[in-house]
């Protein structure tokens, strides 16, 4: 019995060492293909970062920090030499830059040097002669081509659309939405470009998108929310899904400050 136990332990040790070596090799490979958000705690929760080429839905209600987190993602990437583009459809560019000026991560030079490109999608729509309110299948295809061309021409590695909800509002059917996001995601993944799509949802609802379809196409979902503690609202962030990585699913408290931008720490579990 004792001999059997010894043999068994030796076998386990041998297998463990062998597996350890394989895991180590895989991690080395994976490290080369993740896109670090540059927000330390988030990258830890993502087991290193977002797999390059993933399309990630950034879900939250108004004021939850979606735009700030996306801009910080672009700024951190730009500082690492990764070019990014931010397509806005909900907010004029001057307002966007004005709001970002208060953050230390924001640097005007990143925009002037072309490392971060800010583009108003409504202006593109106008130039394409698209109906501002409703897109036809052809309109959607034309817009998709333009987005792909811009990403390709600028050789961007990080792309943000703020918001996919506003864009989907113009795409009239679920099929069009599915087709648009799927084609956009596939094209950008082929370019090794990691994409954030912001998704607006009503507060305090367990919902990841307005049209109940965006989350099925996305590779990842990051949920931003609030918890009420003694009448104060504490911002929260939770990774719901991220294909291609073993990620955490804990709920974190999120802070947004001018000095450090977005920061995370595990949320204390109030039993009050």
């Amino acid at each position: 019995m004792a001999a059997y136990a010894v043999i068994n332990i030796e076998w386990i040790e041998e297998i463990s060492m062998s597996e350890g070596m394989v895991i180590s090799e895989e991690r080395t490979t994976e490290e080369n293909v993740v896109c670090k958000t540059g927000i330390d705690e988030l990258d830890v929760q993502l087991d290193g970062g977002i797999p390059v080429g993933n399309t990630v839905l950034m879900v939250g209600s108004s004021g939850s920090g979606k735009t700030t987190l996306c801009m910080q993602f672009l700024a951190n990437g730009a500082r690492q030499g990764e070019r990014g583009v931010f397509f806005t459809i909900t907010e004029p560019l001057f307002k966007l830059t004005k709001n970002m000026q208060g953050f230390d991560f924001y640097d005007k030079k990143l925009i002037e040097s072309g490392m971060i490109n800010l583009i108003d999608l409504r202006i593109i729509s106008e130039r394409l002669g698209l109906d501002a309110e409703k897109y036809t299948v052809e309109d959607a295809s034309a817009l998709l081509e333009v987005l792909k061309d811009i990403a390709d021409e600028l050789n961007v590695k990080r792309l943000v659309i703020d918001s996919i909800t506003a864009l989907c509002y113009r795409l009239q059917t679920k099929e069009m939405i599915r087709d648009f996001i799927f084609k956009l995601g596939s094209s950008l993944a082929a370019m090794n470009c990691t994409t954030f799509l912001t998704s607006e949802v009503p507060p305090n609802e367990v919902k990841y998108s307005q049209y109940d379809i965006e989350e099925f196409i996305a590779d990842g979902i990051i949920l931003l929310g609030d918890v009420d503690r003694s009448g104060d609202l504490i911002r929260t962030l939770q990774l719901i899904k991220m294909r291609g990585t073993t990620h955490s699913r804990i709920k974190s408290a999120m802070s947004i400050s001018s000095k450090n931008g977005v920061e995370l720490t595990p949320l204390l579990k109030s039993r009050a």
Partner: protein, 194 residues
């Protein structure tokens, strides 16, 4: 008598925090100012160390008014004020981080770690929580217990020494338990202390 008390406190607290990772100080409310005076004198005498002082008991401005240069002249101490904003005071000071609410315990942890993150590796790092029992005024006891457990885990990992103050009159069983459980040394001030 007061000077003797302050000197005695200073000596005991100084020795305790250098040799222990976490020190709990439990004292009656009427000796609170003596302890703070002793702590600031100690901090003032060690300009090479980096300190973070979390105040939940009184506003930063009030501390500066009472202790003046002793509290800030050496530039080796940063404050985290958890109550001024909640009280509607909106002062801005580069030496102090103002937290909007003492209920935002996670933010307190983040700001503590931020102060020490910028301090470098070759300095001694110290944290003062003033006071753990005051947190009970604004938070559920269970939450404060969890906060303290979480905080001490993080400070131990980052090699930060901590002094946690608790006012005897504000104590309850939960805080009593956790301060004893989580501190390497307890200094309890009594009438016959000196």
């Amino acid at each position: 008598m007061t000077n003797t008390l302050i000197d005695g406190l200073k000596e005991r607290v100084s020795n305790a925090i250098i040799t222990n990772q976490s020190v709990g100080v439990i004292l009656p409310g009427n000796n609170y100012s003596d302890l703070i005076q002793a702590l600031f004198e100690h901090i003032h005498s060690r300009p090479e160390d980096v300190w973070a002082y979390v105040t939940i008991t009184r506003p930063y401005e009030s501390i500066v008014k009472q202790f003046g240069d002793l509290a800030s002249s050496r530039g080796n101490i940063k404050f985290i004020d958890c109550i001024s904003r909640a009280a509607g005071l909106s002062k801005i000071d580069s030496n102090c981080v103002f937290i909007e609410s003492p209920a935002h315990l996670e933010k307190i942890i983040m700001e503590i770690l931020n102060i020490f993150r910028n301090a470098g590796d070759n300095v001694q790092k110290y944290l003062i929580i003033d006071s753990l029992s005051s947190l009970l005024i604004y938070n559920d006891a269970q939450l404060v217990t969890e906060f303290f457990a979480h905080l001490t885990n993080r400070t131990r990992l980052s090699d930060i020494h901590s002094v946690s103050i608790a006012i005897e009159e504000e104590m309850n069983d939960n805080i009593n338990k956790i301060i004893y459980l989580r501190s390497d040394k307890i200094i309890k001030l009594r009438e016959s202390f000196i």
